[in-house]
Symmetry: C2
Subunit: 344 residues, 2 copies
DNA sequence: TTGTATGCGTTATCAT
DNA sequence: ATGATAACGCATACAA
């Protein structure tokens, strides 16, 4: 079976549970007990076996394990184009937890706009036989997908800005309230004439951020006029266009909140073109606290989501419940605004 | 075995090869042949079985498959902190290929500076039993790790700026020559007084980029003086410091090449602080063509690596060779410079 | 507390 | 061209 290629040197022969059992002079059943932390093992026996396992580089074959126990020890991650920083952080958060439980992380980048998104994701789950999946926004906002996942009996943790039914674990990132906080900061610092760059309104996150910000200003008795609101599509260019429009049409504007960092970067550029100095003439705040925030000139203040922690939480829940889901659970996460140069 | 939790609705019963065999009125051996594209099957029988598989949502259990064939159908990705864009692109590139071959991608973010990096990576490979791994820079630059991986008999594809021995497939990204191209562009556009911001010289990539750029200017007969070279650590702040120093000490400088986009962003900021207009007074070029490049003001020209394609190539090789490595192979990849506003 | 034996869903050897 | 059947490495019902 093994190849005879040139690289096929004496690679350490694969040990099995049988080898360990023989070395320890016990049956494989006992070794299995030790591997699975069964309490019904003589302490001394357990220690002996454990030390043997330590000294050899034995690692139980998770495929065999999964085959016997009907689990895969795999967690899936389904996402589409979050900014890179988010992706890295989430993955690390998940792996942090996985490593401690001998689980692995399988990733499935997908295309939110694809017609066959749902069958694709389901097929991924079937093929890989992951024990559960973590779904990131904006994919997580797709209710039909969540429903399909649920119907397939696949444990899933959704991370989104609003509760999405059908996710057994729903981690709701409180973007609306964070956006309201941005409004408060603006208002508190004396910005009464402000602009808002919305994301595409078919994204729930965009809607949340919008409502949070606009409603707050209404409560302050200073609702934004139509011409102080622009809709972008989360792209840099759309942010530039929106910013350019807002600023040139409303010379009195002293602050702009953009629904993500990309668009905020576009606003900064528009301000530059229009000779507005940030933050002197115009304060700007973005959303995501992505990689770029600190690299822009001026550095961008932004709303941060603790993605690594969220990844860990989701993974921990999936592993702990081990497929036995007794009831759905919703958690709410509050966000923090990272202040940099663009909002003094 | 199955839980009785509330979510445990009628989930589509799992079909096995036995079910398919029965439906088709053949033995499982024949179904297995079809699944593995064996030529020794009657065309008609094959079609019948295939259509049955299509109509049911049967998907072979890769765990059982792996157990029997001693493969996992898993590809591992080992990396540490490339910029997020790189990560997403590489993962998509790998998954593109994996999906077509019923493989999955398992990720292992690690810490390059960790003392136990090597045992950690090896343990990851043992535990997950991946069939092969892709190692991204800068982790791939660690020769000792490559050696250990090789000694463990684990098929691996390394992506780095220089050939690293012991990687059966070595994809060398020609960063030196790309950097020389940047030098040529500078020189061709009349920039003779230029600055260079190097990465930390214990990174091979930093060394390559440095050599490429500096050597080129030597060949032009315009070698850079010491005070036109600064060393950063790939961070934004170090780029700012380096840029500030270079510009203030050398008022005549008309172009700066920074070894990555983060530092280039810092240079842009330094230029801004020192009232140099980019690109009018100062041209700037970065490296990575990361997410930020297009979002900076002015937009940053940068050297791009085709990470998605590289991911695909690496995965394809790992899957095609299927563990049977007859000889080591080295491929060279040329890069492209993406021109934006910062280099007119 | 420990061991025996069966089965998980495939692949692959050996028949036929 | 097709079919029994023994692995593969482990978990677990059942015995002891």
């Amino acid at each position: 079976m093994l190849s005879s290629g040139v690289t096929d040197v004496e690679m350490p022969e694969k040990l099995t549970i049988v080898d360990i059992a023989r070395k320890a002079g016990v049956s494989i059943r006992t070794v299995s007990r030790v591997l699975n932390d069964s309490p019904f093992v003589n302490a001394e026996t357990r220690d002996r076996i454990k030390s043997i396992i330590e000294s050899t580089s034995y690692s139980p074959n998770s495929r065999a394990r999964g085959l016997a126990s009907n689990r895969s020890y795999l967690i899936g991650l389904v996402h589409d184009d979050p900014n890179g920083l988010v992706l890295d952080q989430v993955q690390r958060g998940i792996v942090d937890v996985c490593a401690a439980h001998a689980y692995e992380l399988v990733v499935h980048p997908c295309n939110l706009k694809a017609r066959d998104l749902i069958p694709q994701v389901l097929q991924f789950a079937r093929r890989s036989r992951v024990d559960g999946i973590v779904v990131l926004p904006p994919v997580s906002e797709n209710g039909a997908l969540a429903q399909a996942i649920h119907a397939a009996g696949l444990p899933a943790a959704g991370i989104a800005s609003v509760p999405v039914e059908d996710f057994p674990l729903m981690i709701v990132v409180n973007e609306r309230s964070a956006s309201a906080q941005v409004a408060s900061m603006f208002y508190g610092k004396g910005h009464t004439e402000v602009g808002f760059v919305s994301g595409p309104l078919d994204y729930r996150s965009a809607e949340e951020r919008r409502r949070g910000f606009l409603d707050a200003f209404e409560r302050f008795g200073a609702p934004l006029a139509e011409d102080k609101i622009a809709e972008g599509d989360y792209s840099f260019q759309s942010g530039f266009d929106a910013g350019y429009q807002l600023i040139s049409r409303n010379p009195s504007i002293s602050a702009i909140f953009a629904s993500n960092d990309r668009m905020a970067a576009g606003v900064l550029k528009a301000a530059f073109k229009l000779n507005r100095r940030v933050p002197h003439d115009l304060a700007v705040v973005g959303f995501d606290d992505s990689d770029v925030a600190g690299m822009l000139t001026p550095a961008l203040s932004s709303v941060a989501r603790p993605m690594r922690q969220l990844g860990s939480e989701a993974a921990k829940w999936l592993i702990d419940t081990a497929g036995v889901i007794s009831k759905h659970e919703t958690r709410h996460i509050d966000l923090q605004i990272i202040l940099r140069e663009s909002l003094p």
